[in-house]
Subunit: 344 residues, 2 copies
């Protein structure tokens, strides 16, 4: 089959790789119907050292089951399924408490002999714990929103949930990328009445307003902090959803969060240290968040998507064929695309 291989910064290729097959009784093989490129895929796309061998890439996909191992109950060939961006057994104590990203028998796509999502098919380990069946056909008009359940939307939702967003909390969302916009939609879903979106790409913040943002702040850094403070009578907001992953975004987050408030971070950290000094201590600010256990949220979010109450798939603004995946990476890196859907 064909699959995406990254050979280094700016060097993404589609190559022929072995067809996936069942290796363990808990495996399934899924033919990919749609996949996508994640903002986090851009980190290696911008910095990976050149490699002749290269590495598989992609961790968001939706597809049709082609085969299942003898131990996979509840799924059969022909089922349409979505895969969260971490695979997990669904039975260990971490999975049972909704922290599937720490599953005792789980792991990441595109590593250690497991396929990546940006290819024609994927061997899915721990299939019964990992996959979620979708009660629609592969020609459904909802497919983009259903694909968003694999990562980007639950990541925004994890941010809002761990921050404690509710109808009584004001919210600042930092970042107008696909995760930031998903965080806006999530905060709105959780009842927030005031959502300040910090971003400066009008086409993106326009979608943010459609998703529920009540104000847009285009300034960045100290000016951005000052503007949010002005808008909130000097107080900042109860919760801040950090959806970038750069230290500047974390600094902005601590600048705009109110006393006793919470910063939640879901942007994959491109930093090692966080400035939680005496001043932050005196203000009782909490830092939470982390990698989203998407699998935990899919059952909760799926009905809203199926019934059309939310349309998180609107973050996809470009579709490429698998053979053109390199153009998709380029478009996202250049910011000419917000988020790219890939069709094998």
């Amino acid at each position: 089959m064909r699959a995406t291989i990254i050979h280094g910064a700016g060097d993404v290729r589609v190559e022929t790789v072995p067809d996936p097959k069942i290796l363990e009784p808990t495996d399934a093989v899924v033919r990919v119907v749609s996949a996508c490129i994640c903002g986090s895929d851009l980190w290696p796309y911008q910095s990976m050292p050149a490699s002749e061998q290269g590495a598989r890439i992609g961790h968001e996909f939706l597809g049709v089951i082609e085969d299942t191992g003898s131990g996979v109950e509840g799924f059969k060939p022909g089922d349409l399924v979505v895969a969260p961006f971490v695979w997990s057994d669904g039975t260990c104590d971490f999975c049972l408490q909704g922290l599937q990203t720490s599953c005792r028998h789980g792991g990441m796509w595109a590593r250690d002999g497991v396929d990546g999502g940006q290819g024609e098919a994927v061997r899915v380990p721990q299939a019964a714990g990992t996959l979620v069946k979708l009660p629609v056909g592969e020609d459904s008009a909802l497919l983009a929103s259903l694909l968003s359940l694999s990562d980007v939307f639950p990541t925004g939702y994890h941010c809002a949930r761990t921050a404690g967003v509710n109808p009584r909390t004001t919210v600042t969302v930092i970042g107008d990328g696909a995760v930031g916009l998903s965080a806006v939609l999530s905060a709105k879903r959780l009842g927030a009445e005031r959502i300040i979106l910090m971003g400066r790409h009008t086409d993106r913040t326009d979608l943010g307003v459609e998703f529920g943002a009540t104000e847009v702040v285009t300034e960045r850094g100290a000016e951005g902090v000052e503007r949010v403070r002005e808008l909130t009578g000097g107080d900042g907001t109860h919760t801040v959803l950090e959806c970038v992953g750069l230290i500047e975004a974390i600094e902005t987050a601590f600048g705009v969060v109110g006393d006793g408030g919470t910063v939640s971070r879901v942007g994959a950290p491109q930093y090692d240290q966080v400035p939680m000094d005496f001043g932050v201590f005196m203000r009782n600010v909490t830092l939470t968040g982390g990698v989203a256990p998407a699998r935990a949220y899919i059952p909760e979010l799926l009905p809203d998507v199926l019934e059309g109450r939310i349309k998180p798939g609107k973050v996809f603004d470009q579709t490429v064929a698998l053979d053109d995946v390199a153009a998709g990476y380029e478009a996202m890196a250049d910011r000419t695309a917000l988020k790219v859907l890939v069709r094998p």
Copy 2:
């Protein structure tokens, strides 16, 4: 009157200062019955540059009201009261939500013309919001435990509460100082069944065991982390109560906290940056805590103290007269005393 003045590292003196009097209608004047020395007082005691003028010090006290301003309702001369370590109006939005440390009209003792607690008397700003009446006499046998409500016990309690300690959480407490031991007592009060205390002063950890610690780990640093991991089947604990304030303690905290767990810090930070890197992100670890709004917790904790169910005052193991306060500082700095009570 006489009051404690710190003139620099290792230089604490008792000097004559102006008698406090009512300056604002919201003031009260309190004659101090007992005060104490805080672990955080040791930071300036160890590092303050020499100063001829010096500065007032002390922020924990209990005493008898001598006079009240015309706007102070609910208190009268002769009332025994305890003061939390931050004064606050009790009416602003932050106070009403239990974050009196961020009160819009509040402040710290021993600053900006406000007396410190380590003296014969104190002018109490925002007295009606700040003080809590105690239904005992000044000769009560409970006085030490009641004094502990001004800071050390609510600080440990804030740590346990913000960490989310409950009967289903395992707990590690880092630090066997008076705050750490108060955190043990607090975790026990909140129902924790397993409390691992990290500390290496046997007399202190013995009191920790009396307060509810189920295991004591004497190793520090990487060895200490390894030991706690061993004790917990490799998993660490759900909550970690960091009661030291040094970066090494924070590093230990991240080492012993389990995936999806919470570190709460109440040790006044002697650091600016916290290592919350990609690994911490992938484990979904939260960092919370901060300066304790003691005023919020006193009404909740007071009945347990009055009825003898908890004895947080056991952290006091030495009493000095006000004139001997310098010896009290020396004893705490030398660790020959755990916590020193001061009687004017």
